[in-house]
């Protein structure tokens, strides 16, 4: 499936800043077996005085931009064409949950792909006894004994979808997973963070994926939540053989051909689309708009 993706993010600053420096993670690229980049263009207004592209530890493309003079607004516009491959059917090749730890220990690596980066608390996802207990409860009540890792991921994701309600007004970008879980509501970021905390709590390495959803669903299917903004879901390590699997607790499904990946990391902090530092006082205001349209209509099933 070919998609045309358009994203616009606008910032207005209350007081114009002396200097501004941002790291943008807004460049979608190839992901082996998942998607292929056809073309992309990122425009930045006003034109930055510095721009340096690179990659972060996890392999996400970064774009460091800076202005040495005051700016009072910032507009980022991305347009990209991406081919999203149809995912292969998920075969459950994952080990039983209680054997995962042994497989994990054998992964003696701190290279970027190593699951060890996704085991412990990360800056925005602390391990919370309440969320961990919830994770174990879900498995006890809904899964069979000796559950596989993949089944555990799915069970937990579906439970969260059932128990938490989507509410764009309830939380903001800095809401902690504990708080979102306590009130059982939030947006995709909160769903993902809570699920990550739960997975790590029960011993499954888990990380955060940022990206996009197609704006209008195929005929006859419901529109997905979060389609009008950037989206986030969860990746979990399901053992040596199966590797990473991606589940979207907001929409209660494994990430399929409606999903375009932008970046991944331990939590939102690692993939924030705009991470910035203003040398000024005063607040800021931002807006974003997303369109993801299929270029061809897939053949009727």
């Amino acid at each position: 499936m070919l998609y045309d993706l358009r994203l616009t993010i606008e910032y207005r600053y209350d007081a114009s800043s002396d200097r501004t420096r941002n790291i943008l993670r807004l460049l979608p690229g190839d992901v082996a077996g998942v998607q292929r980049l056809v073309q992309r263009r990122l425009t930045i207004e006003p034109q930055p005085q510095e721009r340096r592209d690179g990659r972060d530890f996890f392999g996400n493309e970064t774009c460091m931009v800076a202005w040495h003079r005051p700016i009072d607004a910032l507009m980022l516009h991305l347009s990209a064409r991406i081919e999203r491959f149809e995912p292969a059917p998920l075969l459950d090749l994952s080990p039983p949950l209680e054997e995962l730890h042994q497989e994990l220990i054998q992964m003696a690596s701190i290279a970027p792909g190593s699951p060890h980066h996704f085991v412990a608390a990360s800056p925005r996802v602390r391990l919370s006894p309440k969320i961990t207990d919830y994770g174990w409860d879900c498995l006890e009540t809904t899964a069979e004994p000796g559950v596989t890792v993949l089944k555990a991921v799915e069970t937990l994701g579906r439970a969260l979808h059932r128990d938490m309600s989507f509410d764009p007004e309830a939380t903001d970008v800095d809401t902690s997973p504990e708080e979102a879980f306590e009130n059982r509501h939030g947006v995709c970021q909160d769903f993902a963070h809570v699920m990550i905390a739960a997975l790590r709590g029960i011993g499954i390495p888990a990380g955060y994926v940022s990206g996009f959803l197609r704006t209008f669903p195929p005929p006859g299917q419901p529109r997905l939540e979060g389609a009008d903004a950037m989206h986030a879901w969860v990746r979990a390590w399901a053992g040596k053989q199966l590797g990473w699997v991606e589940f979207d607790p907001t929409n209660n499904q494994f990430a399929g051909s409606d999903y375009i990946t932008l970046g991944h990391g331990r939590d939102y902090g690692d993939v924030a689309p705009v991470r910035g530092a203003l040398r000024s006082s005063g607040g800021q205001d931002s807006e974003q708009a997303v369109d993801v349209l299929p270029l061809e209509i897939s053949a009727p099933r």
Binding site: D56, A66, A108, A111, S114, H116, H117, G276
Partner: protein, 807 residues
Amino acid sequence: MTQSPTGVSAQRDLFAAYRQTPGVADELFDASGQMRPVWRRFVERFSRLSPEDIQARFERGNQYLRDAGVFYRQYSNDPLTERDWPLSHIPVILHEEEWEHICEGLTQRADLLERVMADLYGPGQLVSDGHLPAELIARSPQWLRPMVGVQPRGGHYLHFIAFEIGRSPDGSWFVLGDRTQAPSGAGFALENRMATGRIFPERFPRAHIHRLAGFFSAFRDAMEDLASPSFKHPRVSGILTPGPSNDTYYEHTYIARYLGMMLLEGEDIVVENGEAMVRTIEGLQPLGMLWRRIDASFADPLEFNPHSQIGTPGLMEAVRTGHLAMANALGSGVLEMRAMMAFMPRISEVLTGASLRLPNIATWWCGGAAERAYVHDNAQNMLISPADAVNLPFDLGATTALGGEFRGTAMGSIADWLDREGDRLVGQEAVTLSTTPAWQEDGAGGGSVVPKPMTVRVFAARTSSGWKFMKGGYARIGRSGDSTALAMQRGGSVADVWVVSDRPLTRHATQSDRDESYLRVSPGTLPARAADNLFWLGRYVERFEDAARLVRAYHLRLAATDNRGDARLKSVRAYLAGFGINLEEPLPHALIARIVAARGCAMRVRDRFSTDGLLALGDLLKTARRMTKTVQPGDDCARAMSVLVRKIAGISGLVHENMYRSSGWRFLSFGRALERADAVAAFLAEFADPGAPDGSLDLAVEVGDSIITHQRRYRVETSRNAVVDLLALDADNPRALLFQIRELRRHAEALPHAHEHGRPSALLRAILPLEAGLACAAPQDVSSQRLIEIRAELAGISDLLSSIYLR
């Protein structure tokens, strides 16, 4: 006679209470109870001192530290609480051969740490080969992912490190902790040395003690090489501090002064095009090297902790591009993790084929089943704590178990804890430290020497000829006689460490302390933030004085009239209320706030401001705070204000008389002149206004401290013209507006870029017309309206100064 084996009868009294603990090594006596030769001569001399002489000597040392303003800070509710430096007056004495042996072992360890660092931020081979557990590194908040794959400028990660070492019961030395992030204490070691020099000033022992200065100058040279490897692109170097609320800020200022380096805070630095630069009053200057005293995770909010207020956005980028060297590299804190100790012996063998020459504290990482079981079974002799803790073993945290017991919070059983969180825990042998002589007062003017446990901090710096060690150092002395590591917790004291030679050292090696303290070189360009603080220091000091004079005048009149309804009193009350000063309080809180603000500025430029000046500001604050409790309206308050006015005048005099005429002094003086000019203009606009109540002109003359001049010159009743002439237009009266504006012009002319292409700078162009206008004006030209305009022009001058020099 007791067991004292020294054979000198006079020392019986002082050392009578000195008892070795069985099973504990001692610095003074060896295992057979013989005094170590290296101490003998010192002990003989010391024992001959009378109790009075000892007290007098110790007091000289204390006095030195107080005069130098040495302090450290303990984290408490008030972040700026400063404590006196807890000097233990008797040094720790080690023979140079023993020291040499220690340093050889630590050289091996330093090289090993560098290799581990290069691997953890490079190929990660130690993990993939199974010599370090992946989860341990991946979990550590000290392992900074943005640094992976980044080559440090100069090729090395570690440049200035320290080791905490102790002596085992068998007499050998071992390492308790590696300090690889931003070790503190080197500056305090210098101050300890200065203080013990006051206590023991004689040729013996001084001629036998190795000096510390050579170590610092070697490291400074190394830093300069790192900053500017080529002469074509000279770059400056600096010390990066978290700022005045850090517990070792004093040391940062001290080392900056001592080495003549710029003391920088995060906001002093900007990054442009991958190049870090210092904001100075002369513009941006390229920075080649930072001696980092700030934890790496706070160094750059863009790539590390986004909530850091003390970092520099883009600093990591400057490191990545290779323009900026760091001592030590960002991320070096990962080596400080306690759990690393469990793996260092094996890593040494793997990487170098040799075992550690100096062992480290025996450590077991509880992620392995066998280790976990061992720690569990031996919990009685263990310290169990978080594996990724980076403090020293004796700095116990809340969740630590010692000898099978939890300290602090109760947590269930140790066995449960180990089972539940094994891979996050380490067990460390509960070590026994050696004891060393320390003075214990008897409360009656005398005292005796008693054994106290100690650890020694050894400092190492990378130079062009390899690792160089400070010859001497810094010992922590435990508070109680208990020689388990527990006694070393906060609240102990520190001692100088003497590395001594049998023979007097050559002249070169024994430069006097005076030489040590005059190592400094030119202080270099003034960072903009330092200039900003000096400018505001000048303003706040003056703002305080102006207000104190008015408050005094008010209370004098109150005492004379005893009528709060008096029209002049009402007008002063209303006037001061406009400046936030409430005269219903005899000593208005707003006055104290001005001293606090002045002192806050002074503390942020401690490396550039007179120590006496800072102490005097502290004293002023103390006095003022004490007065608030007792002062009564009227005469009493007027007298109190006189005390404060005299004190602040003393401070101004001290600064003016003693401060080097650097650009820093100019900003301070500029701030003062600007504030005084503004205060006079504001005051005249109010009290020399034709509509002001009767007697206001006299008040103006009095507050302007110009009564005598006025009487001598005019000898008539006060008139508006006479007052305006005296306080606005008289170029010889330091209280007059024109005088102060002339000062502003003179300072502005001496600042960088005062003239560009033969034209006066924007700042001068703002001052010159004001000066000329007042120089040509007659008193009647200076209406209240005009004075208000002048205040606005002064505000514009302040803004201009800020925008040109201070950001």
